[in-house]
Every structure is written in C-alpha cells, then in structure tokens.
Amino acid sequence: MELLILAINAILVGNLLLAKFLGICPFLGVSKKISTALGMAMAVTFVMVLASTVTWIIQVGVLNPLGIGYLQTIAFILVIASLVQLTEMAIQKFSPSLYEALGIFLPLITTNCAILGVAVMNIDEGRGFVTMLVYSFAASLGFGLALLLFAGLRERLETAAIPEAFRGAASALVVAGILSLAFMGFSGLV
C-alpha cells in the first residue's frame, strides 16, 4: 500500500515535469509527435531506472562506506552519461528512425535534470532499494504520461491558426503551464 501511494505520488502529485518542473528540455523538444514522445518516454524510463539503480548501489555500496558521499554529483553524472551513451547506441542500432526523430535530445538525456534529480532524491529521501526502484519507475512513468499528453495536445495545435507571435515554443509553454495548473488539482492527494 505504501509503495502504491508512493507510485501515485510520483506519477500524479509530484509529477517530475508538471509539479517539479524537471526535464523541461525534452518536454518541449520532442513532444511534437506522439510517436517520438513515446520513444523518448521509453528511453527516459530505461535510463532513469537503470541510472537510479546503479547510482543507489554506488552511493550505498561504495561512497557511503568510504565516507566520500560528497562525490555524489560527479559520480552520478558519470554513470548517467555512460548509460545515455549506451542507450543512444542501442537506439541507433535498433531503431534508426527513432534515433533520427529524437536527434540531439537523445544525448541530451545526459543533462536531463530529471534523471539526476531522481537519483539524488532517492538518496536524499533515504529510500531503500525496492522503494527506490518503485519510485524511479513511477517517476519515469509520470514523466512519460506528461510527455504523451503534451505531445497529443501539440499535435492538435499543429492545425491551429496560432498567431505569429505565439508559434512554436511560446504556445507550447502556455499549454505546459495550463497542464501544470490542472495537475495542481492533485495536490494534497495521499
């Protein structure tokens, strides 16, 4: 039950994108099409879960016992960068079209603060291994959900007669803002 609440919290209430505003870069960058957004969501899920696991192990297994917890950030970045590199290679190999579609945003997962954020939050909140796993997965699901909803809305906006001044990122940010407002309704849940 606790894990479920944690998951709901991570997906809806504390949504990475809409409540914590982490990872806005891919949110705006690759949300023009639902298919791309889906690919991005999966890539992020993969990296997030794996990175959280590895960083948790490093923190708990190596850094903490050695008393060098202050290396957290640099060590985590190292891990995340390597994992993103791996993901990039895998996607390029198995889905060149998705690789094309994601473009620069794929390597940019490295600097996606959502990933590092989740890894650090896991440590800061002192989560156990299972809790950490559930939280990372749920958080990435929440990320994917927001990305997908946003992509759907933007696809619809493609046909809209948006005034010149608001084309592109401007209207997208307004949509993101309203979406965020809507998700505030979940606050106080659990």
Partner: protein, 414 residues
C-alpha cells in the same frame, strides 16, 4: 444587389480578388448576353447584363446552423441559473456576472482588433466564456479578479492558440483554476445566500454558529441567532461567508463535526457556493433544452454523472460515516454545471461517442478522487481540465469504425 454583396464578401486571395478585377471581369464578352454589354445596360435597369454566376464546391445548401447560434443558445440556456444566482446573492452576483461577461467580450474585441484575427466577438464564444467563468466564481469576487479571469480565459487559454476552435483547454475553467491558485483566499470565500440568511439562520450549513455569535458580540449583538439579528448583522459586515457543503463535508470527516443542509436546499440552491453551482434545477432545465435540441449529446454528461455516482457510491458503501452518499456529491459543487455545460464544450472534448464516454467517466472519477482524497474540496474544474489534456489522445484511439469493414459472405458460402 445581393450578388454585389457576394462579390465583396467573397474570400479574398492575397491581393488577388481585388474588386477592380472582379468588376472588369463582369463585363467580359463571355458573360454578356447575346446583345453587346452596352446595349444591355442601355435597356431598363432590370434588363442589365446578368451578374456573373458564383461557383463553389458542392453541397450548395447548408443546414443553417452556425457557430454563433450554438454559442448564444448555450448562453441563453445558462441565463436562468445566472438569474437565480442574482436573486439569491443580490447585487454581488450581478456585478460578477456583468464584469466577467462584459470583460470577456471587451477583451476579445481588443484581441480581434490587434491581431486582425478572424475570431469574431459576434460568435458569442467570448460572452459564453465570460458567463461560464462568472458562474464558477464566488458571488463576492472582486472586479479585479473577474477581469483577470476574463483575461486568462479569453487571451491565455484561447487567443494564444488562434481563437475559438483551437484552444486545447476549456477557457472558462482554465481561468477559474488560475484564479483559484492565484487568489486562494477570495476564491474560497462563499457568501451565504440572502434567502437562507432570512429563513434558516440556525442551520448555517453545518457550521457551529458560535463564530457568528462571536462576530455578533464584537458588533454588539448579544445573540445573533435570530433572523432579524442576522439581518442587521449582515448590514454591518460586508459579507457573511460560510463553507460550501463540500468543504464542510471534508472538514466533517476530519473533525467529526458539522451538519449538512438537506438535499432540497441543494436543488433550489439555498447554500453557499459559486454562482452557477447553486441551482441544480435551473441548470438541468437549461441542459434539457440543449439535449433536446441536439446541441449536446448525452454521452459526456451521463458518463460524467455515472463516474461520480459509482465512485461516491462505492466509497459511501465502504465507509458511510466518512464518505458522503452519491446524491450529495451530485448535487453539490459544480458537478451539474460541469457535466452539462463545461465538459461538453465541443472544442475541448472528444468528438466520437466512445471517446465521449471515456472522457465523461474520466471526469467523474477524477472529480471524486480529488474531492475525496485531494487537497481541494472541489474537483470538477481540475478533472475537466485534466481530461481536456487527454482529449487528443482519447480521440485518436476512439475513431468510429468506417463503413465497409463488415464482412459479407456469399450466401452459397455461408
């Protein structure tokens, strides 16, 4: 001449369909009668050379339905409820209604003026947005709040995306949620209806009346429990507010106190609440008109209410002392206005029947989730906005099955 009107109102190409060009074309040799054009015009004016025919793609007839007619009809269907709220809350309500509606119309005109866009004020969508917004506000909302709301609704939620038809979120609800989060205090101060004040001073919506006593004492009213006393009290203070039944319900299970008004009050609206949530009967009346005239379909409202009933019913059965029963949830808050007037907004809800049902159920369930377990007492606005966000995805996967896929086997084979 009508044909002349047609000519000028024609869709003009970029500099192409200049009137000059058109007129020279009119006296082209091809279009002239057998007589030369000069001769024709020399005759009586009725016998003048015929105007050029218009061509357009089929169909050449239309149903006569128009966007503005739809919008103004919905507007009209909301008026009884708006009028009732004025009766209940007095001038305060009238001011809110006027500011929101008027503000929205004025702002839309300004937007139209500055962007030279094709959204037109006459289509009534701005007025409807304003009216809907007003109906979601507490009666005492200040003019500034109303204007900010109108601006958010008309500009941020609509004009930014290209006007009516392109807005992904319900403008009125976007504005309301914005106000709710930006001005949490004023937006949750619910005045008590004047009628209720007069008739039932003792039953102030589950509130222990001790705070009124306190207020009365501070204003030299020893005992404020009688109607007359309350009336004079009301004259002294700006406004007497109370919690809405939903807020009471929320507190109710937290503190185990409080008592609620009866259902009949909800029906006729003698309860604190926003302008539009107070009278269920008049809202249903307007909704019935829309349903009968086919302006809205049953799918969204019914599934919305169903979602609320199911969720409320299940929780009530599980724990009647903590959770209120479904009827309470249906009649309070904005469920009725939300289900019939907000969620059914064409632009932001799915178009296909299956999608509508999913949308409605989603709205109902989310409303109840937020009401029962969330931080806000009322969840209708949030629920609808969240489902608005889901609309494109729902729509994508609920398209109707096209004709021609039903298999047919030859009689011999079957």
């Amino acid at each position: 001449m009508a044909a002349e009107d047609k000519e000028t109102s024609k869709n003009a190409g970029p500099g192409a369909a200049s009137d000059a060009g058109k007129r020279t074309a009119t006296d082209s040799p091809v279009e002239a009668t057998a007589d030369s054009p000069e001769e024709a015009t020399a005759d009586s004016p009725e016998e003048a050379a015929p105007q050029m025919l218009t061509v357009a793609s089929s169909p050449h007839v239309r149903s006569g339905e128009s966007t503005s007619r739809i919008m103004w009809t919905v507007f009209a269907c909301l008026l009884p409820a708006a009028g009732w709220s004025v009766y209940l809350f007095g001038m305060k309500a009238a001011i809110v209604l006027a500011t929101c509606t008027g503000g929205a119309v004025v702002i839309e005109s300004l937007v139209q003026y500055f962007t030279r866009g094709r959204t037109s004020v006459q289509d009534g969508s701005a007025a409807l947005t304003g009216l809907l917004l007003a109906l979601t506000l507490p009666p005492g909302a200040s003019v500034v709040i109303c204007l900010v709301g109108a601006f958010v609704g008309v500009v941020v939620a609509k004009a930014v995306f290209g006007g009516l038809g392109h807005n992904p979120f319900n403008p009125a609800l976007t504005a309301r949620v914005f106000l709710l989060i930006a001005f949490p205090g004023p937006m949750t101060r619910w005045p008590i209806p004047l009628q209720a004040l007069a008739d039932k001073p003792q039953k102030l919506y589950g509130q222990s009346t001790s705070w009124l006593d306190a207020a009365g004492r501070s204003l030299d009213f020893a005992n404020a429990k009688t109607g007359a006393a309350l009336h004079s009290l009301a004259a002294k203070v700006d406004v007497i507010t109370a919690a809405t039944p939903l807020a009471v319900a929320k507190e109710h299970w937290k503190r185990g106190t409080g008592e609620l008004t009866t259902y009949s009050d909800y029906f006729v609206g003698s309860m604190p609440g926003s302008l539009g949530e107070v009278s269920v009967i008049l809202l249903l009346l307007g909704a019935a008109v829309l349903l009968i005239r086919g302006y809205i379909s049953w799918h969204i409202p019914v599934s919305f209410l169903l979602g609320v009933i199911v969720m409320a019913g299940l929780t009530h059965l599980a724990n009647p002392t903590r959770y209120m029963d479904p009827i309470f949830h249906l009649l309070t808050g904005g469920v009725i206005i939300g289900a019939f007037f907000m969620a059914t907004d064409y632009v932001t809800s799915p178009t296909y029947p299956l999608g509508m049902v999913i949308f409605g159920l989603g709205c109902g369930l989310l409303t109840m989730i937020i009401r029962l377990w969330g931080g806000f007492p009322e969840g209708v606005s949030f629920a609808i906005l969240i489902m608005n966000a889901c609309t494109p995805i729902i729509e994508r996967y609920t398209r109707p099955t096209r004709y021609g896929l039903k298999p047919w086997a030859e009689p011999e084979a079957s």
